[in-house]
């Protein structure tokens, strides 16, 4: 499969659903990808199975402030030198790149990088959605390390970083990113084909494209987008409602808050809420949990089914909230420890969304 203009538009829209409210505005990333394929031609999308076991595959992402990204747009060639250096450090050439997360701006950057560097992109990611921290990837669950990590800026600076732990990698990298001007292109979790096959979440780019295509086509033909979307992603409609209040606080750069939602139509008379920290984390009816992280909680516009980011939540918006089961890799002890509700500070146990729904909490 080749990724060109049409697929990029579809993946960007699909990524806004899998971003579960976070992941940053994909607009800049999308324009980067579009320009790159316009200049260099479509990108080859290859299957995880097609990566040789000993090949070197490295993800490409943006690290830093989204507010800087919209102002200081990347050069596009940051990785040319950085990948060469990483290759000679590891004694191998970079075979392909892939997205570290499926949601938001970082779903688009690897497409631009692949086109600019003439590399194929692997149809997989390390989250199956979006998460805020470096260790929140399935590779971490399989004991892979973020190092050697590469950082590159538009000026031509690049750094290969070897840290003793993923936490150290995060701390050292944050400081370098500031020095580089608040934003850098990064690559973490360099893997062999064998490691990728074991830990990656497969087929996520083609899946995003299918989701995006379905949303576009059903919106254009005015068919019931929400119902068809739920069927497609094997998700659950949690409730329909009107946002009645948004409580926000910004702490150490992260966007925390609660959205209060009054039920409408079949949910009239019920009160719901959604807790978010960049991404949507917990959906509740009164005190009863309907879905929680790492399952995906997506807020859609009631009429158009267009996914809504946490920044765009405001009083009066009418929404449908859906829950989608996360990848099985997250539903392990180590997975829940890494990205379960307790890690984000909520004193509840993780119960899969399909079990919670069986309990009949949502009509």
């Amino acid at each position: 499969m080749k990724l060109s203009e049409k697929e990029i538009e579809q993946i960007a829209l699909g990524a806004s659903l899998l971003g579960t409210g976070g992941g940053g505005d994909p607009h800049v990333g999308k324009l980067m990808a579009l320009q790159a394929v316009k200049k260099h031609g479509p990108v080859d999308l290859i299957k995880v199975e097609d990566v040789p076991d000993d090949a070197l595959v490295v993800p490409a992402a943006m690290m830093g402030a989204p507010t800087v990204l919209v102002e200081k747009i990347p050069n596009g060639n940051e990785f040319i030198k950085a990948f060469e250096e990483l290759g000679s450090f590891l004694g191998k050439k970079v075979f392909a790149t892939f997205p570290i997360e499926a949601g938001g701006v970082n779903s688009m950057i690897p497409i631009a990088v692949a086109a600019n560097l003439g590399l194929p992109i692997v149809d997989c990611d390390g989250m199956g959605r979006a998460f805020p921290e470096l260790q929140m990837v399935t590779f971490h669950l399989f004991g892979e390390t973020a190092s050697p990590m590469v950082l590159a800026d538009e000026k031509g600076n690049s750094v290969i970083l070897n840290a003793i732990s993923n936490k150290w990698a995060e701390n050292l990298a944050r400081n370098l990113v500031v020095e580089m001007g608040g934003e850098a292109m990064i690559s973490i979790y360099s893997l062999t084909g064998k490691q990728l096959k074991r830990a990656a979440i497969r087929n996520i780019l083609s899946y995003s494209a299918e989701i995006g295509k379905l949303i576009m086509e059903t919106q254009a033909s005015k068919k019931d987008t929400t119902e068809q979307l739920i069927n497609k992603i094997k998700g659950f409609k949690l409730f329909k409602g009107k946002i009645t209040d948004i409580l926000r606080k910004t702490t150490s750069g992260f966007n925390f808050g609660t959205a209060k939602i009054d039920g409408i139509e079949e949910n009239k008379g019920d009160h719901f809420s959604i807790e978010f920290q960049n991404e949507n984390l917990i959906a509740k009816k009164d005190d009863c949990v309907l879905a929680s992280v790492p399952d995906l909680i997506c807020i859609l516009d009631l009429e158009t089914a267009t996914p809504i980011t946490t920044e765009a939540l405001k009083y009066g918006r009418r929404v449908t909230v859906i829950g989608i089961p996360c990848d099985e890799k997250w539903r392990t002890e180590k997975g829940i420890e890494t990205v379960g509700p307790r890690y984000f500070g909520y004193d509840i146990d993780y119960v899969p969304v399909e079990k919670l729904i069986e309990g009949g909490v949502s009509k």
């Binding site: 800049v28 324009l31 980067m32 579009l34 320009q35 790159a36 830093g64 402030a65 989204p66 507010t67 800087v68 919209v70 102002e71 200081k72 747009i73 990347p74 050069n75 596009g76 060639n77 631009a112 538009e154 000026k155 031509g156 944050r174 500031v178 001007g181 608040g182 009107k242 009645t244 209040d245 910004t250 750069g253 992260f254 966007n255 765009a312 405001k314 009083y315 009066g316 918006r317 009418r318």
Partner: protein, 519 residues
């Protein structure tokens, strides 16, 4: 006594009012908007002066809110060819200027651009220095092909030094007459959107000259000789003609702003929701501290995404001329409308099309045309249509509110007949006198403003000191633009921490506004 003349050009009508020093309405008129816009303006001035019994010499201020610029961009007409300079290399190469513009717009405006070395980091460090030779070479190459220049530097809202230097270079190579738009003077953070606004602004140079000349001429020909002349901006304040030549894009969407401000003034409320019902659509806006709430999202103009200030509005396809149908037992409202042809096509005027106005007349909510012509409409059906209209309006009004508290609703424009006296979530519904010319009144009462928007590092300066500094800059800008220092008030303070950035970087925005210095 001295007077003000306010004119607002809308899609359907051009309205004019004369108000006195105490801002009391002396006379008002409505006349159809003409295709060239200027003829309609001239006619409105003529009519409002003819009927009003005042000395033309005593009109000391004339204000115009016009759709010239919006029309030029939407129709791709009379636009200048622009040379586009971005200061960003080696950053920003991944997205070229105008990449997502509709092709006909970029063709009409610019095929000449360069990304030159330059730009700043978020903390004010230079990414790289300017390469002046590189810029001069570009200017030499395009100087015979372009009529205006737009300059946009990375993080120029934080430091505009490079943009200013490049402007000097442009004047060296191309002379002082060429129009130069600096992005730092037009938009806020967000390179592509700010660049788009700067390019569109530059492309409007000819249109701006045309508005200025034709408005001046119309006033002179109608005998208004000793008036100061202003154009309305989309934030509800005024700019001098001289200023408007430099920043024509700031006039875009001043119409809805004027009607929101006019509504607030006429009903003596500084916080309310405003519903402006037209023939084809209705606009809902919000007035906060006497100014329209600004939109927080990117706004497209003619298909190009921009981020400069615009009033936060929802447009609904429901107006006095909206066509009413029944399909499969369901009421269908529009989206078609008979528009300005309502006086020919609506049933009450002897036409053949059932419109929302006919329903209002049938239910006794309005007395327009011949009510006998609608007496055979089934009452039950009419009530169902009414419910449908109310639900639609109610839903969008609720969308525009920011909290659950009840707020007053001001009705202006022509089709205020469509709105019930009581609405859920609304404390009272007010339909003030002169509501049909609220937009021209909004133009006439507009104030003079100044603004400061800067990113401060709160490690280097305390938040209070930063806000004080920004206030002083905004006030000085307002006074320089002609505001009476005594009347200046701070109408907006916004401080937004920049997410994921260390050093407590915060963007502080302050707006000050005051009355025109009295003549």
């Amino acid at each position: 006594m001295s007077y003000r003349l306010g004119i607002d050009v809308g899609g359907t009508n051009t309205d004019a009012v004369i108000i006195d020093n105490d801002l009391k309405v002396i006379n008002s008129v409505k006349t159809p908007t003409t295709e060239d816009v200027s003829t309609g303006i001239r006619k409105a001035i003529h009519l409002v002066l003819k009927d009003g019994d005042i000395d033309k010499e005593s009109i000391k201020y004339s204000m115009l809110g016009t759709t010239h610029c919006t029309n030029a961009i939407v129709e791709r007409k009379n636009l200048c060819k622009v040379g586009v300079i971005r200061l960003g290399k080696p950053a920003t190469m991944a997205i070229e200027p105008m990449i997502d513009w509709p092709e006909d717009l970029s063709k009409a405006v610019s095929e000449n651009f360069t990304i030159a070395h330059g730009g700043f980091e978020f903390d004010g460090r230079e990414i790289v220095s300017l390469d002046e030779e590189e810029i001069k070479n570009f200017l030499d190459e395009v100087k015979d092909k372009v009529e205006a220049i737009a300059i946009t530097g990375v993080f120029s809202p934080i430091s505009n030094a490079q943009e200013l230097r490049v402007k000097e270079l442009v004047e060296e190579v191309m002379g002082n007459d060429i129009s130069v738009s600096l992005s730092s003077e037009i938009g806020s953070l967000g390179l592509l959107e700010r660049e788009n606004a700067a390019i569109l602004n530059a492309s409007l140079s000819k249109v701006a000259k045309n508005i200025s000349l034709s408005f001046k001429k119309a006033l002179e020909e109608e005998g208004v000789l000793s008036s100061e002349i202003y154009l309305c901006q989309n934030d509800g304040t005024l700019m001098s003609l001289e200023h408007s030549l430099k920043y024509p894009i700031l006039t875009i969407a001043c119409g809805p702003t004027n009607s929101i401000r006019g509504a607030g003034y006429l009903s003596n409320l500084s916080n309310a929701i405003v519903l402006d019902v037209g023939g084809t659509t209705s606009d809902i806006g919000v007035i906060i501290n006497s100014f329209p709430r600004e939109s927080a999202v990117a706004v497209e103009i003619g298909g190009a995404r921009t981020n400069f200030r615009m009033p936060d509005l929802i447009s609904i396809a429901l107006g006095g001329g909206t066509v009413v149908k029944e399909k499969d037992g369901k009421v269908v409202l529009g989206p078609e409308s008979v528009g300005y042809k309502i006086t020919e096509e609506a049933l009450v005027f002897g036409g053949k099309t059932l419109t929302t106005t006919d329903i209002a007349v049938r239910l006794g909510m309005a007395d327009i045309g011949d009510k006998n012509k609608v007496s055979n409409i089934d009452l039950n059906f009419a009530n169902r249509v009414k419910d449908e209209m109310y639900n639609l309006i109610l839903k969008y009004i609720d969308n525009m509110k920011l909290t659950n508290d009840n707020a007053p609703l001001i009705l202006v424009g022509g089709g205020s007949i469509l709105v019930p006296e009581k609405i859920e979530g609304i404390s009272e519904v007010i339909c003030p006198e002169n509501h049909s010319v609220a937009n021209a009144i909004g133009a006439a009462i507009a104030q003079i403003s100044g603004q400061c928007e800067k990113v401060y590092s709160l490690l280097k300066i305390s938040r209070d000191d930063a806000i004080t500094e920004a206030r002083e800059i905004a006030i000085k800008e307002a006074v320089d633009a002609g505001a009476d220092p005594e009347s200046i008030e701070i109408v907006e303070i916004e401080d937004i921490p920049l997410a994921y950035l260390p050093g407590n970087a915060t963007r502080i925005k302050v707006k000050a506004a005051g009355n025109l210095k009295s003549a």
